[in-house]
């Protein structure tokens, strides 16, 4: 079941009615849990077995870790979780790479049978669970004894498939106390929901059409159409994921649950470091807290730690060399930035034009690296770079007016929309303004929504 479907809206409405009509918190959680089962099973019901096994296993492991404080149990639980993730997500890639490597030295092996499907959201709920286990071990929280609360923590339909990755100490306390109905939360949640939907079904899905065409016909792209296509992809990937996260925030808020924000106008960043503080914030903080800092963080080998963290972050996004290269290059860039940032006078005095230049440089750098993210293969990525950067520079094909309009509208309005989605700013507006924004958003969704497309991050 997709967020951008009538089926989901219907399910959410039913949950809302049952949730707020229930007198006890357990009953409310039961409804949320049931909806999560339906939501997840709707895609492919055997996936329920994986997530159910994960919930049961980790529920008992957390209790054990909390009780015995034994590092062995933590290691066992974490390794088991990552092995399951590796089996479903990476085994095909690893096996293929191994076979390719052997073929390079004239040893030919047949590729063994590998899993044909990837349980949806496995990367997200695995990271969420691992963070929980580590937090329990580090005594930041106690293991949750209420199985229903733990089930909802892992499987909450609002963020199960593509995040945001929630932390147990932020999320679980909200599930424990019975919340009273708040019309303000309902209003804000509703606005977030429809704004997220607008970002997904109009902006991201419209961009997707141009991106899909461009990346399927790389050889026929000219310099300017290649740039327009990569701009479209930058818009698509942001609005797709930002849209999903915002719908998640909205649907949770309607139930009185607050989820962390995942995006904060990342393309306005003045440096790549800032970009990663604004892009997929819950993943960045996860990588910082559970990978970068344990590796040594800023204390020693900072550059190495950054490169390792970002490369693994890239690998988390997908089992392909392109993602590894993408992450590695981000790591290199961050490490270089860190070296120069330490030198005096590197940071020029801030002014509008200097900031603008920095923003443009960071944005275009990020765009160039998106090529690895989107291209189907390494040769495709190289061909795309050739079209983008190398002569002959040809500019004869027209850029579709819909794409030009989309890029211009995005530049003009993305920051404004972003500002509306931070905290409860929307609630401070007058009713007239609130109603105008909401009506316009709904009409834009109705008018410009495209055919239903999956969210990009579903495959991660």
């Amino acid at each position: 079941m997709l967020f951008n479907s009538v089926t989901f809206v219907l399910l959410h409405l039913l949950v809302l009615a049952a949730y707020w009509a229930s007198s006890s918190q357990s009953l409310r959680l039961f409804f949320v849990g049931l909806a999560s089962v339906i939501f997840y099973g709707w895609f492919y019901w055997p996936g329920l077995l994986i997530i159910a096994a994960s919930i049961i296993f980790n529920y008992f492991m957390a209790l054990k870790i909390d009780h015995q404080r034994c590092k062995k149990w933590l290691s066992f639980a974490v390794i088991t979780n990552f092995l399951v993730l590796a089996y479903y997500k990476y085994i095909s890639f690893l096996a293929q790479s191994f076979v390719d490597l052997l073929a390079f030295i004239n040893i030919n092996l047949e590729l063994p049978d590998t899993p044909q499907w990837l349980p949806l959201g496995i990367s997200f709920f695995t990271f969420q669970i691992v963070a929980y286990l580590v937090d329990v071990y580090q005594k930041k929280i106690h293991a949750e004894k209420n199985f229903l609360i733990f089930t909802v923590f892992v499987s909450f339909y609002g963020q199960l498939i593509a995040g945001p990755i929630v932390r147990s100490h932020e999320f679980m306390p909200q599930l424990k106390k019975k919340l009273s109905f708040s019309a303000r939360n309902m209003q804000l949640g509703f606005f977030f929901f429809i704004t997220g939907l607008m970002l997904k079904v109009t902006v991201a899905d419209t961009s997707a059409q141009f991106v899909d065409y461009g990346f399927s016909n790389i050889a026929s792209l000219q310099t300017h159409t290649a740039w327009a296509t990569i701009y479209a992809f930058a818009i698509q990937i942001l609005c797709d994921f930002w849209g999903y996260s915002t719908i998640a925030l909205g649907s949770a808020l309607m139930l009185g649950i607050k989820l962390p924000i995942n995006f904060d106008s990342p393309y306005s960043s003045l440096s790549l470091r800032e970009f990663w503080r604004r892009w997929h914030i819950t993943l960045s903080t996860w990588l910082r807290d559970y990978l970068y800092i344990p590796l040594g963080g800023n204390r020693k080998n900072t550059q190495r730690n950054l490169i390792i963290t970002m490369t693994l972050g890239g690998f988390w996004h997908g089992a392909s060399w392109n993602f590894i290269i993408w992450g590695f290059l981000h790591g290199i860039w961050l490490a270089t930035e860190r070296i120069f940032a330490r030198r005096e006078n590197f940071m020029l005095r801030r002014s509008f034009f200097i900031d603008l230049i920095k923003k443009l440089l960071v944005f275009h750098g990020v765009c160039l690296l998106w090529v690895f993210f989107r291209a189907q293969s390494f040769p495709d990525a190289m061909l795309y770079f050739k079209q983008l950067l190398l002569p002959p520079y040809t500019f004869t094909d027209p850029i579709p007016s819909a794409l030009s309009s989309l890029i211009i509208l995005f530049v003009l309005f993305n920051k404004k929309v972003g500002n509306l989605l931070v905290d409860d700013k929307f609630l401070s507006f007058s009713t007239t303004r609130q109603v105008s924004y909401t009506t316009a958003t709904i009409l834009i969704i109705l008018a410009y929504s495209q055919a239903r497309l999956d969210f990009i991050y579903f495959v991660f």
């Binding site: 019309a183 009713t431 834009i444």
Partner: protein
């Protein structure tokens, strides 16, 4: 009871969130109601061609309507036809002509337009384009804007939503280009359909311009009219598309007869490779059979060699300003007799 309801409402409205949802519901209720009361116009806003049809429907009086593809849209100048007919016969000075041609017209759309046009009271002549390239068109779409069958729960729910909520059904009418078209519907009576804002320019153009035609041009502009012969069983070397094609014209002819509207068919001028294609023997045979089947005259302007750069736009498929003016004058004289016959009726 009433007082308590008022009290509850007053308290509720003090809550900003409640007021927000209440106003939203009211706005969308109003939008829904407006659409339900103006369904045809809202539906038409979704597409340029449909707007043109709706403009025609909304007009108070139209005597002659031309329907067809972009070749008709670019080739017919209603003002010129009115002016020419008026100069040929004083009784026809106030004849009202509408250009219903629209780019990208397919056969099913043509049928739809013709059907709607014939429902308009007071129409005297329906002129329908017979387009050569369509004879080869194998992409036959059986119904206009037909809904796809539901395949799963989501499709089923979406279908139900658009079935009951007109705001969802006509959602494309909220697009900027659709909204920008809405003034056209209010201008229906003052527009001749070709291009809304070109009317005065063309009138000026017609008055001022002096078009020099060579003898070859004059000879080329001679009409070739295929008159209907005995009704014949349709048989064509082009098989199914041509058969469907003929059936459409036959249906139009049947309805025109019932509505007492004179039907005539025309093939707009064209040049270049299309000209050669449209004028081969197969096509001519089909044109004749369509004329026979519908018992309507067919004006064949396609098979005449005209100077490309002088009469045509650069694509050689669509008439330019000069070509449009000359052809509109030409076609006026060709339809004069049927019009007078109709007036006598």
């Amino acid at each position: 009871m009433k007082a308590s309801i008022q009290l509850i409402l007053a308290r509720k409205l003090k809550n900003k969130a409640a007021l927000y949802f209440l106003i939203l519901i009211l706005i969308f209720f109003l939008i829904e109601t407006t659409i339900r009361f103006n369904e045809d116009s809202v539906f038409a806003l979704q597409e340029k061609a449909l707007v043109k049809l709706q403009m025609f429907v909304l007009r108070k009086q139209t005597d002659i309507v031309f329907i067809g593809s972009s070749r008709t849209q670019d080739g017919i100048e209603p003002d010129v036809i009115t002016h020419t007919l008026g100069s040929l016969n004083p009784n026809l000075q106030s004849i009202n002509v509408f250009n219903g041609g629209s780019a990208g017209s397919s056969l099913d759309r043509l049928a739809y337009f013709a059907d709607k046009s014939l429902d308009k009271p007071g129409l005297k002549i329906l002129a329908v384009e017979v387009s050569g390239p369509q004879l080869k068109d194998n992409n036959w779409t059986p119904s206009f804007y037909s809904a796809l069958p539901a395949t799963d729960t989501e499709d089923f729910l979406q279908k139900k939503l658009s079935e009951y909520l007109y705001t969802v059904r006509y959602r494309k009418s909220f697009r900027i280009d659709s909204i920008l078209r809405s003034p056209l519907l209010f201008m229906a009576n003052s527009s001749d359909g070709t291009e809304v804002f070109r009317r005065s320019n063309i009138r000026q153009w017609y008055a001022d311009s002096h078009i020099e035609l060579t003898d070859d041009d004059r000879a080329a502009w001679q009409s070739s009219i295929l008159y209907p012969k005995e009704p014949a069983q349709f048989s064509s070397p082009l098989k199914q598309p041509a058969q469907k094609y003929a059936e459409i014209y036959l249906n139009i002819a049947k309805k025109a007869k019932i509505k007492n509207v004179k039907l005539f068919l025309f093939v707009p001028p064209v040049t270049g490779s299309v000209l050669i294609e449209e004028c081969d023997n197969k096509h001519r045979a089909i044109y004749q059979q369509v004329a026979n089947l519908t018992q309507s005259p067919l004006l064949l302007h396609s098979c005449v060699p005209l100077r490309p750069a002088f009469f045509y736009k650069s694509d050689n498929g669509h008439l330019n300003k000069i070509g449009r003016t000359v052809w509109s004058k030409k076609i006026s004289t060709d339809i004069l007799n049927p019009l007078l016959t109709k007036q006598e009726i």
